[in-house]
């Protein structure tokens, strides 16, 4: 049973990866972003908690459960495609490489065949890389952050509707993670919000606004090294590859609960 479960760390890493690549709304003041984002996070946390009670109190073969699983299956597929598209874009733009397409069959095979428990250790290691990467990022941008850029008298509230980022992990917690960790898992929306807020704050402090998010990484400079954006993007790319395999595993778990899957599909290296 333990082999069939991801840890909350793995799910959190997946959320972090998606949130870091999610675009920020243009021209929104930071304070408004903070308020709206916080409200969205609370709403998503409530939704996540509701989904926990839904999955736990529901007979798995009942029609509502099957319908929900099918809908979430498509959501996960859509998220997988989005993550792949973003990762491929990074590979093309930053590294001039199409290798991700070439490695796609391997990633799909690994995500499908390997049991979820195998991905938990890589998730822990990648979190260390993420933390180190964030520290490095901060070290290179701290000197460029100016408080006065947070306030721009010209900035008006945007007219586009506010988009709440919904990820499949929020709604699938009981199916993905062990029961003991569900209490922590329902607060994952705050992690996504935190990532977006940090990004928005950094953009506002460094640029004031009006630049694409990747320019924040390109603005990095410290000492002998004039650029570190490629390394930071590599860390994100590694997390994106993890996310693709993670979503494959989730899809397999979910599909296995909708349709009976053949056993013995674990692979021992």
């Amino acid at each position: 049973m333990e082999q069939d479960r991801f840890t909350t760390q793995a799910a959190a890493l997946s959320i972090f990866t998606a949130a870091a690549a999610e675009g920020l709304p243009d021209g929104i003041p930071l304070r408004l972003f903070l308020l709206k984002g916080l409200c969205s996070a609370v709403l998503l946390t409530v939704l996540s908690a509701f989904s926990v009670t839904f999955w736990q109190g529901r007979e798995q073969n009942a029609f509502p459960a099957v319908a929900a699983k099918t809908a979430l299956l498509f959501l996960l597929l859509a998220e997988w495609c989005t993550t792949f598209a973003r990762a491929q874009q990074v590979c093309r733009q930053e590294f001039g490489s199409m290798a991700l397409v070439g490695l796609l069959p391997l990633l799909l095979w690994a995500g499908w065949k390997l049991p979820p428990a195998r991905w938990n250790a890589p998730a822990r290691v990648l979190w260390w890389f993420v933390v180190l990467g964030l520290l490095v990022l901060f070290a290179g941008l701290a000197g460029q952050m100016q408080w006065y850029r947070l306030w721009d008298p010209e900035l008006q509230a945007p007219t586009e509707p506010w988009q709440v980022p919904l990820y499949g992990e929020y709604l699938l917690l009981p199916l993905l993670c062990p029961e003991a960790k569900l209490c922590r898992g329902v607060f994952l929306p705050f992690l996504g919000f935190g990532v977006q807020l940090a990004l928005a704050a950094a953009m506002a402090l460094v640029f004031g606004g009006g630049y694409p998010e990747q320019e924040l990484l390109r603005a990095w400079s410290a000492g002998v090294f004039s650029r570190m954006d490629a390394l930071l993007l590599w860390v994100w790319l590694t997390c994106a590859m993890f996310r693709m395999c993670f979503l494959c595993g989730c899809i397999r778990l979910l599909a296995g609960r909708i349709l009976p899957m053949p056993s013995g599909s674990e692979v021992e290296p």
Partner: protein, 496 residues
């Protein structure tokens, strides 16, 4: 199984048929207590002097009246009522007879008795107990295992003087009937796992058994494996320490290398000296070893990837030297790196296999002159040779991981050279997945690997004071809540 006959001549005829053509087969007719008998042994394995000495000594102390000198009576007298230091278990069949003869014992066959008496008068010539070459250390025992199983078992018995140590010997199912020993400490080893190991070894059918590692495909079935969750040692001190942690040791007759299972990944970065040095220095060395391992695996690939795809991460002074070097050589950077790595492997292998008298000079010629000549002719460049040399040396900081590190290094270079940063990321994942998927008997290879679960554990990447570590005894079969290996709450001390 052919039983021994009551008729001495029949037994001798059977032995003659088997070993008559062998020059070391020795058979001597004797009369003992008025009973005809034959001493059989293999010359060079049993000591004739010891044999005659003990026979004469024993024979002079006791006599029997002639009417009581039948074969079975003499047999009973010698085995049970005399001072002859015979083996307690008599020889009952031909197979047992051959087994004991090939172990260096002498066997006394008596006319009219269907059993033989074995005497432990081994006088085998064997390599003495020396310091092993592969496991160097500054402090601690210098003894190493010898080639004979019995001697190795005695070395272990000398170190673990409690009644806990169990050393079971069996014969492998091979044409050569090689002996092997399974050692464990009764109070800390998992009985179910010990039983399982014994069953697996009994069921194993290797074609030849020359070393304990030959058992691996039966202990760990699987198609391919980068990391093996067992370790090898030639030091009785290390083996004894691992036995006290509940592990199982397998020794094979004819090889000084002991197989220890289960093993953990973090143990590859520890050694006998760790607990003999101060905690600070040991911690420093462990960090160095971790760094050396990851350096040897990733440095060539990262170098190629950075130089080609991410040049801004290299200081400009170094970057232009790399570019100038690549411009001067006919091959692209990654192909050159691959070539140099393979060349270094060839040099290493050649240095290992050739006679020692030539080994040093040939290595010198190959490494220095070849390298110089390659640069002078413009076939290879100095940055590449430098990086490849560093990795070749760094791998020997953790010799136990040599095979895995070499294969991984090649894979990382290929991945980074052909696929760039995505390839490097994929190689990184492959390493992580290979580590996390390895385990034996329910003990995961990475647990209790502290990084990154608990990097500041007491005996992980860094080591605390030994007095503090000694407060809690570490056993490899950690159980929590009655189930095996759910999670390690607090990583414990490991002894060497």
């Amino acid at each position: 199984m052919q039983q021994l006959s009551r008729d001495l001549a029949e037994n001798l005829a059977a032995l003659d048929a088997l070993f008559g053509a062998s020059a070391d087969y020795y058979s001597k007719s004797i009369t003992i207590y008025h009973c005809r008998g034959n001493i059989v042994l293999f010359d060079g394995m049993a000591s004739l002097e010891s044999l005659w000495q003990l026979l004469l000594e024993g024979a002079s102390r006791h006599t029997l009246p002639p009417e009581q000198c039948t074969g079975p009576q003499v047999f009973r007298l010698i085995l049970q009522d005399s001072v002859f230091p015979a083996e307690s278990q008599p020889v009952e069949d031909m197979e047992d007879l051959i087994r004991r003869l090939t172990a260096g014992m002498a066997v006394l066959l008596l006319d009219g008795c269907p059993k033989g008496i074995a005497f432990s008068v081994q006088g085998l010539k064997f390599r003495s107990v020396e310091e092993p070459e592969g496991e160097g250390n500054l402090r601690g025992s210098r003894e190493g295992f010898a080639d004979l199983l019995r001697i190795n078992l005695s070395l272990l018995r000398r170190l673990i003087r409690s009644g806990d140590l169990v050393q079971e010997v069996a014969q492998a199912d091979t044409p050569a009937k090689t002996e092997y020993g399974v050692c464990y400490c009764r109070s800390v080893a998992d009985p179910a796992m010990v039983q399982r190991v014994k069953q697996l070894l009994a069921a194993a059918k290797p074609e030849m058994l020359l070393d304990s590692s030959y058992f691996m495909p039966w202990l760990l079935p699987g198609r391919w494996r980068l990391f093996v969750p067992v370790s090898y040692t030639q030091r009785p001190a290390v083996a004894a320490a691992k036995l006290c942690e509940g592990r199982i040791l397998i020794l094979v007759n004819g090889s000084p290398s002991a197989l220890v299972l289960p093993a953990l990944f973090c143990e590859n970065f520890e050694c006998l000296d760790d607990y003999a040095s101060t905690a600070v220095f040991s911690s420093f060395l462990r960090l160095l070893k971790y760094a050396a391992f990851y350096l040897t695996v990733f440095l060539p690939g990262v170098f190629v990837c950075l130089a080609v795809y991410l040049p801004e991460l290299i200081p400009p002074q170094l970057l232009y030297k790399i570019e100038a070097a690549e411009k001067a050589t006919p091959l692209p950077l990654f192909a050159e790196m691959l070539l140099v790595m393979l060349l270094l492997e060839v040099i290493r292998e050649a240095g290992l296999r050739m006679p020692q008298s030539l080994g040093h000079s040939v290595s010198l010629v190959a490494a220095l002159i070849l390298g110089d000549a390659a640069i002078a002719t413009g076939l290879m460049s100095t940055p590449v040779i430098f990086v490849a040399s560093i990795t070749s040396i760094a791998v020997f900081v953790t010799p136990a991981l040599y095979e895995s590190a070499t294969l991984l290094r090649l894979g990382v270079v290929l991945a980074a050279g052909l696929a760039g940063p995505p390839g490097l990321a994929a190689a990184f994942f492959a390493l992580l997945l290979a580590l996390s998927g390895t385990g034996i008997m329910g003990v995961p290879y990475l647990t209790p690997h502290p990084f990154p679960q608990n990097p500041l554990s007491e005996d992980g990447v860094i080591r605390r004071d030994y007095r503090r570590l000694s407060r809690r005894h570490f056993v490899i079969w950690q159980k929590e809540g009655g189930t095996k290996w759910n999670r390690i709450a607090s990583p414990r001390r490991r002894r060497r």
